[in-house]
Amino acid sequence: MHVRRWLQRGLAIAASVPLIAACEFSGPQSALDPAGPVAQAQRDLFVWTLWLSVPVMVGVFGVLLYSVLRFRAKNAEDERAIPHQTHGNFKLEIAWTIIPVILVILVAVPTVRTIFSTEQRVEAGPDDLAVHATGYQWWFKFDYLDHGFTTANELIIPVGTRVVVSLDSADVLHSFWVPNLAGKRDMIPNNDNQVWFVADAPGTYYGQCAELCLGAHAYMRFRVIAMEQPDYDRWIASFQNAAAQPVSADPLVERGRALVAQKGCVACHAIDGYRPGTEVGNPDFPSLTNFGLRTTVGAAIADNTPENLAAWLRDPQAMKPGNYMPTLWRADDPNREDEIEAIVAYLLSLGRDGQASGQLTLGGIHGGQ
């Protein structure tokens, strides 16, 4: 019998679990790879409970393993033997009531502290970035409350600033979850919710709707992109000046601008600076303002490349089954590819001073792939 050796080995394995969990499992959507104080506190608490569970596991499994091996009936005769019929032991009962009580206290104290340090409602002050996020089936709308503009599916934030997001839903429940930055908070109609976080480092953090909203729930994603202050200021400025979008020198882009009206896109989508003095779109659809600055298409399910954008326009349902954007070209429409090319050029020129081409990078993806 090598019960002791086994126990020692088990202990070693069990004890290394928290260590492994603490340093592995990084990624742009991992809760164990925090990039800000809120997610950090949440992860630390998890690691702490993991540590506490080690003695529980070692104790329970050790005793279990030991007793079934040590007290097993070794032969048929043993199976009929009658061991001493003990009914209980008062002192033991007390002891093993107190042990979990202690464990509970050890979990509870840091838990309560972290609840009050991360879940307390805050008022957005002048130093904070205040955003109102609305969940739609199946995309996110972000209103920059201090700057007065609206964007969709990508939340650009400055590094080191507290971001205070008030949450709402336009239809069913959704949930706002960016694991690297903070735990989720649900978006519920008639329920004024809030989440706040800080990003410590520039980078792209993946977000995901975490509350079943049927249809394209799995594809209801978004990104939070944290930038250094100067980049962020430039980004803000380009949105604030979007209304003064210059007429492009590129005829393809201008053709796209015309087509966007002809094909009815602007019945739904707002585009600031579409034509000087004209307001287009409907606030309940994703704004395409400065779409050229976007890194993704279709609520962060594909990179914003000309090819992907064209694929999206050709057949939004193929890329994201069930979503509410109609297919605007019949498959046999001879002008389809031409028109899509023009619209893609136009959309990508938005926010890029009328240039439809050129590489765009906004921060790196956090945690590496």
């Binding site: 809760a31 609840i115 694991p179 993946y206 089954p321 069930g322």
Partner: protein, 643 residues
């Protein structure tokens, strides 16, 4: 005395004349005898069999879920089909498979454990079963009538409103659970009355076997937990059928109210699932450790305490809904506290094994795996009860892993232990231990292979209820492993089924008491005669049968046979069968469809039928059989039975 046979040589009973307006049927064989049965043992078997059917359906759904998730961007199932799959999987497992499995065991064994001849209200018992069967059939017919429910097993509002979910699926969910809930409620009430008033002479509450005790607590949980769900279901049905405004945000309705009502039911529900399992474990471990349950009163008390606390933790499912730090703190603390009595139970089971003679039957193996898996699942439960961490884990695969550990690895494995333990009693045959153990070694490791990687997937940011996931962020491996696990587990399940069939057809005769067990159900023949006990058992200690067999070992005293005499004097009376439970169930089925299709004429007719059957029920008289006193059957208190 020889090992008793399937049929017990009790002299033919005299049938009692009907004293009602109608006569009750008295078939003993054939399909009609099953349709009209009010015998708790037959109903128990029906429950267990039906729940296995539903479990197979839910397993197929689980299998499809896992196949779809094997690799990212898989297109085996469309999002809509996938939503129906996990909704029906969850609903079936919880309401149609595992809860009825516990109730089935209770039906069969509670009367036997307390020395009774049936439940207090046999026809009500049958009604409970038929409503359950009708509710399950109703839910599954949704697949053919416009699509199954797809809003998840907790069907959060406003996803279930007519505007957001116009199909029939949601109506099937709401009406099916409403009607099915009535069945569960009457069965629970029946069990409470039975356990309170039909215990054998001398069986004080502190001598009641732990399984029965846990069923008592469970039944109380049911009668308090189901009403909030029923009302919530009714509200949504009203919204969808009559245009009321309970969950219409535009009119001021609050979706969050549904969440509260659902989880006020839903958390107790998880204890409704696991307390019977605790009960089974508390029978299996002492039997195969050949020792009494360690700390019996403490185990009972902690069960009661868990039941109480179960009503005080519901908001831990709602930590992310923005209830605020104070509420979250409160519910976090109550949830932690629930870990204490649960831990105490675990420690007492360990204490039972300690110093015993552990017999490694398949049943015991499952019980040991229960201790292991449930503890792990309980620990992740405590982690989830930490609101800041739950903010990350809620609605992620970490939660999926947690509840499969406690329900699949906990409750279900405990019921498999119970199945192996009680199968000989129910069938009179032994299952094959070799196939059993082989199956075990596929089933349980398979289970861990499925669900352990899901913890990691969850921590890596995988949300639940999504038919696909993003490639390249570390989710491929855990999902692939998890899918591979289903194949391993499948082998185990098949071996289990093979063993059941093999046991029924070819099993060796079991005798009264193959495990040298401790409680009264093992004192009668296998399977037990219709009237359970030839003599009214009289009890003077805990572990009544053990005392009868080995009084010296527990400083106990054998109850003399003559003790039964005063109680046998009146003879045994067993009521006749009845059609009305079945008819009532059918009427409710008609009602369900009529309501679903908004045919209010038929709704009226079905309610009139219910009304009519109620009278027929009340007036049909008692009928049945009467066994006069003074005749002795076989197999009572026979120590020889297990020799």
């Amino acid at each position: 005395m020889a090992v008793s046979k399937v049929t017990v040589p009790v002299p033919a009973p005299e049938s009692t004349p009907s004293d009602g307006l109608f006569t009750r049927p008295t078939w003993t064989t054939g399909i009609a005898s099953w349709l009209t049965t009010v015998d708790h043992k037959r109903l128990g078997l029906l429950y267990i069999f039906t729940s296995f059917l539903f479990m197979a359906a839910a397993s197929v759904e689980a299998f499809l879920i896992r196949l779809q998730l094997a690799v990212p961007n898989n297109t085996l199932l469309s999002p809509d089909a996938y939503n129906q799959m996990f909704t029906m999987h969850g609903v079936t497992m919880v309401f149609l498979a595992i809860m009825p499995l516990g109730i089935g065991f209770a039906n069969y064994f509670v009367p036997l454990q307390i020395g009774a001849r049936d439940l207090a209200f046999p026809r009500l018992n049958a009604l409970g079963y038929w409503i359950y069967a009708a509710g399950g059939a109703f839910l599954y017919s949704s697949f053919f009538l416009g699509g199954a429910p797809d809003a998840g097993w907790f069907a959060y509002s406003p996803l279930t409103s007519l505007s957001n979910n116009p199909g029939n699926g949601t109506d099937f969910y709401m009406i099916g659970l409403l009607v099915g809930g009535i069945g569960t409620l009457v069965t629970a009430m029946n069990l409470i009355v039975t356990i309170v008033s039909m215990r054998a002479p001398g069986m004080t509450m502190m001598r009641v076997p732990v399984f029965t005790w846990m069923m008592l607590v469970t039944s109380f949980l049911i009668i308090f937990a189901f009403p909030p769900l029923t009302i919530a279901l009714l509200q949504v049905i009203m919204d969808r059928t009559f245009g009321t405004l309970f969950y219409v945000p535009e009119a001021g309705g609050m979706p969050i109210l549904w969440q509260h009502l659902f989880w006020i039911f839903g958390h107790p529900e998880v204890y409704i699932i696991v307390l019977p399992a605790f009960g089974v474990i508390s029978e299996v471990i002492p039997t195969f450790s050949r020792k009494p349950l360690f700390g019996y009163p403490v185990v009972i008390l902690s069960g009661i305490f868990i039941g109480f606390m179960g009503f005080a933790v519901w908001s831990h499912h709602m930590f992310t809904t923005g209830l605020g730090p104070v509420v979250n703190t409160a519910f976090a603390l109550t949830s932690f506290v629930i870990g204490i009595p649960t831990g105490i139970k675990i420690f007492n089971w360990l204490g039972t094994i300690w110093g015993g003679k552990v017999v490694f039957t398949t049943s015991m193996l499952y019980a040991i795996s229960f201790l292991f898996t449930f503890t792990l699942g309980g620990i992740t439960g405590i982690m989830l009860a930490v609101p800041p961490f739950d903010a990350q884990a809620q609605d992620s695969y970490f939660v999926v892993a947690h509840f499969h550990y406690v329900m699949g690895g906990g409750a279900l494995m405990a019921f498999f232990a119970g199945l192996y333990y009680w199968f000989p009693k129910m069938s009179g045959k032994l299952m094959d231990e070799r196939i059993g153990k082989l199956g075990f070694w596929f089933l349980v490791p398979g289970l861990h292979l499925i669900f352990f990687p899901q913890h990691i997937a969850g921590l890596m940011g995988m949300p639940r209820r999504t038919q696909t996931y993003v490639a390249g962020i570390g989710l491929e491996l855990p999902n692939l492993l998890s899918t591979a696990g289903t194949f391993v587990m499948l082998i185990g399940l098949i071996l289990l089924l093979v063993n059941i069939v093999h046991g029924v057809l070819r099993g060796k005769p079991a005798g009264n008491d193959p495990w040298d067990a401790r409680t009264l159900e093992w004192s009668v023949s296998s399977p037990p005669p219709h009237h359970n006990f030839d003599h009214q058992p009289v009890v003077n200690d805990r572990d009544a049968l053990w005392v009868q067999k080995y009084p010296e070992s527990v400083h106990g005293e054998r109850v003399p046979e003559s003790a039964s005499e005063p109680y046998d004097a009146a003879g045994i009376h067993l009521p006749g069968q009845s059609w009305y439970p079945l008819f009532m169930g059918l009427a409710l089925l008609v009602f369900s469809y009529a309501l679903l299709f908004h045919n209010f004429w038929v709704v009226g007719i079905s309610l009139a039928m219910v009304f009519f059957f109620t009278y027929a029920w009340a007036l049909e008289g008692v009928g049945g059989h009467h066994f006069p006193a003074g005749r002795r059957g076989a197999g009572q208190h026979s120590k020889e039975g297990h020799a």
